[in-house]
């Protein structure tokens, strides 16, 4: 396409060397990525079900194949063979187009993800990456933002209320969380001095960005869960309220496409988080020191990359198994009033630090230590400010007699209080002594 994509003169912003790549190499890489993503999705579904099951103390899928590994394959086959229903009220073209957009855009991201450094296969030396752009990370954001069209159009074209509500929610959600996500990535761009993924991985040689840019990392992790519509941010498909949101009216393969896109997107954002914050394919610290960085060469990096990526996948499942869905207004408040201002403030801070480094000759370590000390001093001073006197905490101990409607509530007896004998029981006891054999008494006893 462009000079950059067609393997022209090496762009100065890109570290990976694609000069030996031919059209066959691209083709092989593209097919490998496709196969990798599809098998990863099958694995991810099994993984999620198994891990969530363990968290809920049950075995999870364990019938089909070893450890139930073939369960998702069986589910996929079932979906393929199901009847494909097109709703009568649907806008046919867009109804069909929507899941396609979703899957297509989800598949695009991995083109710029580096799996490892250059390796030599059959005499061809090539990086383990399909391509790289000077704007690779922006390209990923672009793919994600076009992918949302799938959800939005799917919800609208179904011509039904729940999907429409799901897609309206999804639009608002993605727009607000994409801002926080983009801003958290900006600090990585500033520190790495590049938006190319291979260059960003290369810039993490001394230190992974997750450590110095921890706030950005946290913001990214939160917004990536929001971006992929996963619990606790799965409001577009909230089962309890919207049946399953934008995909309510979809069935068979079209539904499977949405499903596929959701899981590929999870893998995508995990891979981005790995590449930008956790050193990409670089070996973790004690391992990277072995034998003069032997584990950072050849095929080893693929292992580290996949391990880190699946760490994030585990995080997704863990969060899903632990947290409850947010209410919509709380969710929006979190996005607009917490994440975006925090991300903005952090970007400004990083920019100031980088500016100081540009114009003043200060060692980064000294600078960071100075900033940490300054922050510690500020935090220390805030401890010296006396707290506002708060109302004494209610320890729940009561001295007086039991008031069943304390504070206007029907309440149980609190510590220190005694439940008075039941009025009904007293009355019954009185009656029993007077007239032991009444019909009424029998039914009361049975009910009691």
């Amino acid at each position: 396409m462009s000079a950059t994509l067609l393997g022209a003169a090496q762009d100065p912003a890109i570290t990976a060397d694609f000069s030996e790549d031919t059209i066959w190499v691209w083709l092989v890489k593209a097919v490998v990525i496709l196969v990798f993503l599809l098998t990863s999705v099958l694995m991810a579904i099994w993984f999620e079900r198994k891990v969530v099951a363990r968290m809920q103390i049950r075995p999870g899928p364990n019938v089909h194949g070893p450890f139930g590994l073939l369960q998702s394959l069986a589910d996929a086959m079932k979906l393929l063979l199901k009847e494909d229903i097109t709703v009568k009220a649907a806008d046919k073209v867009i109804y069909l187009l929507a899941p396609m957009i979703s899957v297509f855009c989800a598949l695009l991201t991995f083109a710029v993800i580096p799996f490892g450094p250059s390796v030599t296969v059959l005499g061809v030396t090539t990086p383990l990456q399909l391509t790289d752009l000077p704007v690779a990370t922006l390209y990923v954001l672009a793919c994600a933002s076009v992918g949302v069209y799938g959800i939005v159009l799917g919800g609208w074209s179904s011509g039904s209320t729940y999907p429409l509500l799901g897609s309206v929610r999804s639009t608002a959600q993605v727009i607000s969380y994409e801002l926080a996500m983009g801003l958290s990535l900006v600090s990585v761009f500033i520190m790495a001095g590049s938006m190319s993924t291979s260059q960003i991985v290369d810039s993490q040689r001394p230190l992974w960005w997750a450590i110095p840019l921890a706030p950005a990392f946290v913001i990214y992790v939160i917004s990536m869960i929001g971006e992929t519509n996963r619990l606790p941010f799965d409001l577009p498909e909230a089962e309890g309220e919207l049946v399953s949101g934008y995909m309510t009216e979809y069935s068979s393969m079209k539904f499977a496409w949405f499903f596929l896109a959701e899981y590929i997107n999870m893998i995508n954002v995990s891979a981005i988080a790995t590449t930008l914050f956790l050193g990409g394919w670089r070996a973790p610290w004690p391992l990277s020191a072995i034998n003069d960085g032997m584990l950072n060469t050849g095929w080893w990096p693929v292992l580290w990359f996949l391990a880190k990526m699946w760490l994030f996948m585990f995080l997704f499942v863990w969060v899903r198994g632990t947290l409850l869905r947010l209410r919509y207004d709380q969710f929006m408040k979190l996005g607009w009033k917490v994440l975006i201002p925090a991300a903005l403030a952090w970007v400004v801070m990083v920019a100031v630090v980088q500016g100081i480094r540009q114009f003043v000759d200060v060692d980064l370590t000294t600078l960071i230590i100075g900033l940490v000390v300054a922050a510690a001093v500020v935090i220390g001073i805030t401890f010296l400010i006396p707290d506002k006197p708060r109302a004494a905490a209610d320890d729940g101990v009561r001295d007086g007699p039991f008031d069943p409607f304390e504070g206007g509530y029907p309440v149980p007896p609190l510590p220190g209080q005694q439940l008075p004998p039941s009025a009904r029981r007293l009355a019954r006891a009185a009656r029993t002594t007077v007239a032991p054999d009444t019909d009424h008494h029998d039914t009361e006893v049975q009910r009691g």
Binding site: M1, T4, L5, L138, A142, V152, G159, T171, E444
Partner: protein
């Protein structure tokens, strides 16, 4: 516009440009790859642009614009402006068009544009100006010359984003800041215009929950609107053999319709269906209506004086419990359109 503007360059395309890698900058010519891309994308873009004009549904028009935008982004990337191309997709397709879509979505699937003229003479004026614009464009495009572009290699020497950044934050920093100020002003203006002074205190979820629970200790007459809602969700509408719809009330254990089970909107509009209309005969209309607490001094069983029987205010007969292993059956005989149901 861009399609027309770029249309001239492939004329200069030469098959001699053997190397795909030859950048436009070096020769002033378009590579074969780029020419192919252009001739594939240009017709698509023109068709999509026409689709914008002639599509009946607003969403179809919006999708046509998206197609044009994405194709334009491809062309930008092909012309060695990857930053512009990607930002085009992120900003215009991902954010601006998405906001448009957000509004358009609230128009239903089967809604078409109204073709009624709201401004008199609008069509003729539109046609006039359209023709004027066309004449102007044709005039400009036919007289334009295409000199060989120079300096792209130098501009992109330190990679494309760096080159763009130097231009924006170096040569054009003032213009950039002015645009920034304009955008901030617009955002603030929108905030000010949509700001609403709160007339009453905001009642939060916690306080609402407190009041609803507290309302349980009051009599029906003393409860306000919030307290009357109770703590449990409203009952769902009825599901019967021959109907399962929002507008038919459910039955309480005594076989009487529960008014609250039908959406308030439907009730206010008078769209609620009677039970008889769906072939269900409701039970006798005596006793308290389910879903509402009895209007006693307090809720049963909470405030009992000595000797008072908690079950006394249950006027309606409670069905007898069946023997273990058997169901008790309905309290009142159910009569459908086919006649009374016989309990086996």
């Amino acid at each position: 516009m861009t399609a027309l503007g770029a249309a001239g360059s492939p004329v200069a395309a030469s098959p001699v440009a053997a190397s795909l890698a030859t950048a436009v900058a070096d020769t002033g010519r378009t590579g074969t790859g780029e020419a192919t891309l252009f001739w594939v994308l240009a017709p698509i873009m023109v068709l999509a642009a026409l689709g914008l004009l002639f599509a009946r549904k607003a969403i179809h028009a919006a999708m046509c614009v998206v197609l044009v935008m994405v194709s334009l982004a491809f062309l930008y990337v092909a012309q060695d402006a990857p930053f512009l191309g990607v930002v085009q997709v992120v900003v215009y397709t991902g954010a601006v068009m998405m906001l448009f879509l957000f509004v358009l979505m609230l128009v239903g699937v089967d809604a078409s544009d109204s073709l009624v003229e709201t401004i008199r003479g609008q069509r003729w004026l539109g046609l006039l100006f359209g023709v004027g614009l066309a004449v102007l464009l044709v005039g400009v495009v036919t007289r334009v010359t295409y000199p060989a572009p120079v300096g792209l290699a130098e501009a992109n020497a330190a990679s494309n984003p760096v080159g763009v950044a130097r231009l924006i934050f170096g040569d054009f920093v003032f213009a950039f800041e002015v645009v920034g100020v304009l955008l901030v002003t617009a955002a603030l203006g929108a905030l000010v215009l949509t700001h609403r002074q709160r007339l009453v205190r905001k009642v939060g979820q916690r306080e609402l929950a407190r009041r609803r629970v507290a309302g349980l200790g009051k009599t029906e007459a003393d409860r306000d609107a919030v307290e009357r809602k109770g703590i449990a969700p409203l009952p769902a509408p009825g599901v019967y053999a021959r109907t399962n719809a929002m507008d038919v009330p459910a039955l309480d254990p005594q076989g009487r319709p529960i008014e609250q089970s039908v959406s308030r909107v439907l009730r206010v509009r008078g769209q609620e269906r009677e039970l008889e209309a769906v072939g269900v005969v409701p039970g006798p209309a005596t006793g308290p209506v389910a879903g509402q607490l009895p209007a006693g001094p307090a809720s049963p069983g909470l405030h009992l004086e000595a000797g008072e029987d908690g079950g006394a205010d249950r006027h309606a007969p409670t069905p007898q419990a069946g023997a273990p292993g058997e169901t008790a059956g309905p309290a009142t005989p159910i009569t459908t359109g086919r006649g009374p149901e016989v309990v086996p």
